[in-house]
């Protein structure tokens, strides 16, 4: 049997299944319709009271639960739906028996206020942590332990899908989803596994999460017209909009996928990652880590900047990110940046945080498959300092074979993926 290898002699990593859920809806079809129509999923938050908050909008996913839920419960539900779609499309394994490892980007969890309040009701006298500990010791709240351990969501997904080995729950802040994919790629290249289920999920919009970002002045406060608040690369951009969602990809050794007759949807050709020791929340002003991450990803794929047809931007709509990203892209792609399309899915779905890298990788593969680039919406007031072809406001037909997808996060996390159309001659 022929074996297919990349330019570095490693197994090719194929994508055979994709799944996505965002505030625009559940599933690839629904999302693709909305994304190419330039529709926004951002709306006023009614999950919790927003009185007194500077930001009262978000891309929450509100169609999955009738009653109250916690962030890990929503994150798990989102991941489950995305993974069901991806695994279903790939046709790999059988129900509850996924023949590969699990790599999951999950939001850090902690006990939430409604649960603390529930326990506080059982405390007589002052409600301090000693009181909560006494309540916990009654054993009446045992289920909360499993709900709030960091490994809980991935453990449940591993159980449901029957993934093999020790599931990874990871965080690289806002590049987590891309890191989950990168870890799957690396495991397949090592030959540790022939398939990997890579998921990024985030359903963590609750009051305290929103307030934390708000206190860092990271969020848009343009609450009056929620659907136009996320405006990446615009002059009047004023912060990101929190979003929820999940993206799931089935990665597979290309030959393994061919041997079972699977449809190859694309290739994850290269990954690049760089740290940044400049500041806890700000990127190096020279953009060096982002530049190097993109260059590393291209080198890993054995490609040059000229091979890239489209950039799926990190494009958060914060003043700093979009400027840094535009500058970094200019450094990598040079004069081509004037005409190389770059668009931000976040203009429509908000910043899905932990999930973003995975959600946007799924959308990138749909972009390749459909020959249509989703637009950057709300681009009515271009920032003259960063002249880019952002595919303004309207989707564009284009032949796209190679995408670079950027993810940058707090803590100096920079991860870039090179995503490609399936090889023409298998």
């Amino acid at each position: 049997m022929t074996t297919h290898r990349d330019t570095k002699g490693r197994p090719l990593v194929a994508v055979t299944g994709l799944g996505v859920v965002t505030s625009l809806g559940q599933g690839k079809e629904t999302n693709w319709q909305a994304l190419t129509a330039g529709k926004s999923g951002i709306h006023r938050i009614d999950r919790f009271p927003t009185e007194g908050l500077k930001t009262s909008i978000g891309g929450t996913v509100d169609f999955l639960f009738d009653g109250p839920f916690t962030a890990p419960q929503l994150s798990e539900k989102l991941a489950t739906l995305a993974a069901e779609e991806a695994v279903g499309q790939s046709g790999i394994g059988s129900a509850g028996d996924f023949p590969g490892e699990l790599f999951m980007a999950v939001p850090p969890v902690e006990m939430e206020w409604p649960q603390k309040q529930e326990m506080a009701q059982a405390v007589s006298g002052e409600v301090d942590y000693d009181g909560l500990l006494r309540a916990a010791a009654t054993g009446k709240y045992r289920a909360m332990h499993e709900l709030f351990v960091f490994g809980g969501v991935a453990d449940h997904i591993a159980d449901r899908f029957g993934t093999k080995g020790s599931p990874i729950s990871l965080s690289t802040a806002c590049s987590s989803g891309a890191t989950a994919i990168q870890m799957g790629v690396e495991a397949i290249r090592r030959g540790d596994t022939q398939a990997a289920l890579c998921i990024g999920t985030d359903g963590s919009i609750h009051a305290e999460a929103l307030i934390r970002f708000s206190l860092l002045s990271a969020l848009s406060t343009q609450n009056d017209l929620p659907e136009s608040a996320a405006k990446p690369f615009s002059k009047n951009r004023d912060g990101f909009v929190m979003g929820e969602g999940a993206g799931a990809l089935v990665l597979e050794d290309y030959d393994h996928a061919l041997a079972r007759g699977a449809t190859i949807l694309g290739i994850v050709a290269g990954c690049g990652e760089r740290g940044d020791g400049f500041h806890r929340t700000r990127s190096s002003p020279d953009g060096k880590p982002a530049i190097l991450a993109m260059q590393d990803a291209l080198a890993d794929a054995g490609l040059t900047p000229d091979d890239v047809d489209y950039i799926n931007a990190h494009g958060t709509s914060t003043p700093e990110n979009d400027k840094m990203e535009a500058m970094s892209c200019a450094a990598v792609f040079g004069e081509r940046m004037a005409s190389l399309p770059i668009s931000s899915n976040k203009s429509m779905i908000g910043h899905t945080l932990t999930a973003a890298g995975a959600v946007e990788a799924v959308i990138s593969f749909m972009t390749i498959a459909n020959g249509t680039i989703p637009p950057t919406i709300n681009y009515v007031n271009p920032d003259p300092a960063i002249a880019l072809d952002v595919v303004p406001n309207t989707a564009r037909k284009a032949k796209v074979r190679t995408v670079i997808s950027n993810s940058f996060g707090f803590g100096g996390q920079n991860t870039c993926l090179v995503l490609m159309a399936p090889p023409e001659a298998a």
Binding site: F48, P49, T50, E51, G52, L53, V106, P108, V109, E110, M111, W113, K116, Q117, E126, V127, D128, Y129, D130, L133, A136, A137, G139, R142, H145, E146, F148, V149, F150, G151, A154, D155, A158, S166, I168, S169, S171, T172, A173, M183, E186, R189, G191, A207, E208, I211, R212, F213, L215, L216, E273, R274, G275, G277, H279, R280, G409, F410, G411, Q413
Partner: protein, 377 residues
């Protein structure tokens, strides 16, 4: 792919016993006694962190202030590891150094939480009240001091490690998978040099609360890990450990001292039921090949019901005459840091000549099983 040898060329460790290789080598040789605080968090005993001179590893007070204790402990231990590997001033190496951190996070401001919970009891509009109080009482920087991946971020900032980092979460198994992944990357040639480890601050009621919710805590007096049958449960300890893992070729080329060779590293997740921890660990250890009779067995066992006895049985079956040491009996249970601390202790024992070979085992209090095999370098 060709499997390459992986050696441990740097060890940074800090715990209730103090800091560094020598302090922990002495404790391993003496077998204790542990430092236990039974009063501060009564009825829960724990092993408090020894006083550290933070300035030695985190020179800027402004950096120290931007971190919570678990992050400071991790950054401190990472600095010790870089020092011991001779990499602290090697900018080129630090630029290439890839980092995997096993982290929890979310350290709460206990006073703020208590005041808000008290206020919520009488609030007419609890949602609005919560918003107002959180907006005014949360420190903006607290979020960053809590974020799981900001331990790695602070290692980058404080020590100038500008290689990429990944943060694994998921309690004990995060520490197992961090070392497993770092080992696999080097063994397969994906990387030459990794900094891997974790840190845990036990002296916080919010974490005790999480474990007590599930009924996982031991109470009152200290009892050795393998002698808690009558009152099983965790006795947590503040501890941090980072290891510099390096390909044997790279270490030899720069003349670095190897503390030990990390010959095998494995992780699994049994669907927990009676007996699954024992069979999972037995299988992992069995895949490493035979264990010498005079080997050392370092166990990261939790002391929790059932699984601790199963781990003891797996160790006894794989290495019947090995000298068994529970990490928990020396420094307490360090959750995400428990396995990295245990591997560090094994490497320290080997480099001190206390044994020629060691196995390390661990079963998470709730999920996950891992094992390692080390030999003298």
């Amino acid at each position: 792919m060709n499997r390459r040898d992986v050696v441990i060329t740097g060890i940074g460790i800090a715990s209730s016993l103090g800091e560094g290789v020598e302090a922990h080598a002495a404790a391993l040789a003496a077998g204790g006694p542990p430092v236990v605080d039974t009063e501060s968090f009564k009825p829960y005993p724990l092993h408090p962190l020894a006083a550290l001179e933070l300035d030695k590893q985190i020179p800027k007070k402004s950096d120290q202030r931007q971190m919570e204790p678990w992050q400071r402990l991790g950054v401190y231990a990472a600095g010790l590891a870089l020092d011991s590997a001779g990499l602290k001033d090697d900018a080129e190496a630090k630029n290439a150094l890839q980092v995997i951190v096993a982290a929890g996070g979310g350290e709460r401001d206990h006073a703020v939480d208590a005041a808000i919970l008290e206020g919520l009891r009488g609030a007419n509009e609890p949602g609005t009240f919560l918003n107002e109080r959180l907006m005014s009482d949360l420190r903006p920087t607290l979020f960053l001091a809590q974020l799981s991946n900001l331990l790695a971020g602070n290692i980058a900032i404080v020590h100038g490690v500008t290689g990429p980092s990944r943060t694994f979460m998921g309690e004990e198994q995060a520490g197992v998978d961090a070392i497993r992944t770092a080992h696999a990357r080097i063994a397969s040639g994906q990387s030459d040099l990794m900094l891997v480890g974790g840190a845990y601050n036990a002296e916080r009621r919010d974490m005790l609360l999480l474990f007590e919710l599930g009924g996982y805590l031991h109470r009152d007096d200290f009892k050795p890990v393998f002698a808690r049958e009558n009152a099983p449960g965790l006795i947590t300890g503040s501890a941090g450990a980072f290891l510099v893992l390096e390909s044997a070729e790279r270490a030899a080329a720069r003349g670095a001292k190897a503390y030990a060779k990390l010959s095998h590293m494995g992780a699994t997740r049994s669907r927990r039921a009676a007996g699954t921890v024992q069979s999972a660990l037995t299988q992992l250890l069995g895949s490493f090949g035979p264990v010498a009779t005079e080997a050392l067995a370092i166990s990261a066992a939790t002391g929790c019901a059932g699984i601790t006895g199963e781990e003891a049985a797996a160790i006894a079956a794989a290495a019947p005459s090995a000298k068994r040491i529970a990490t928990g009996d020396l420094v307490g249970h360090g959750v995400e840091a428990a396995f990295p601390v245990s591997v560090a202790l094994a490497a320290i024992a080997l480099s001190a000549g206390q044994a020629k070979e060691a196995i390390v085992t661990g079963a998470g209090h709730w999920r996950g099983e891992g094992a390692a095999h080390l030999v003298q370098a």
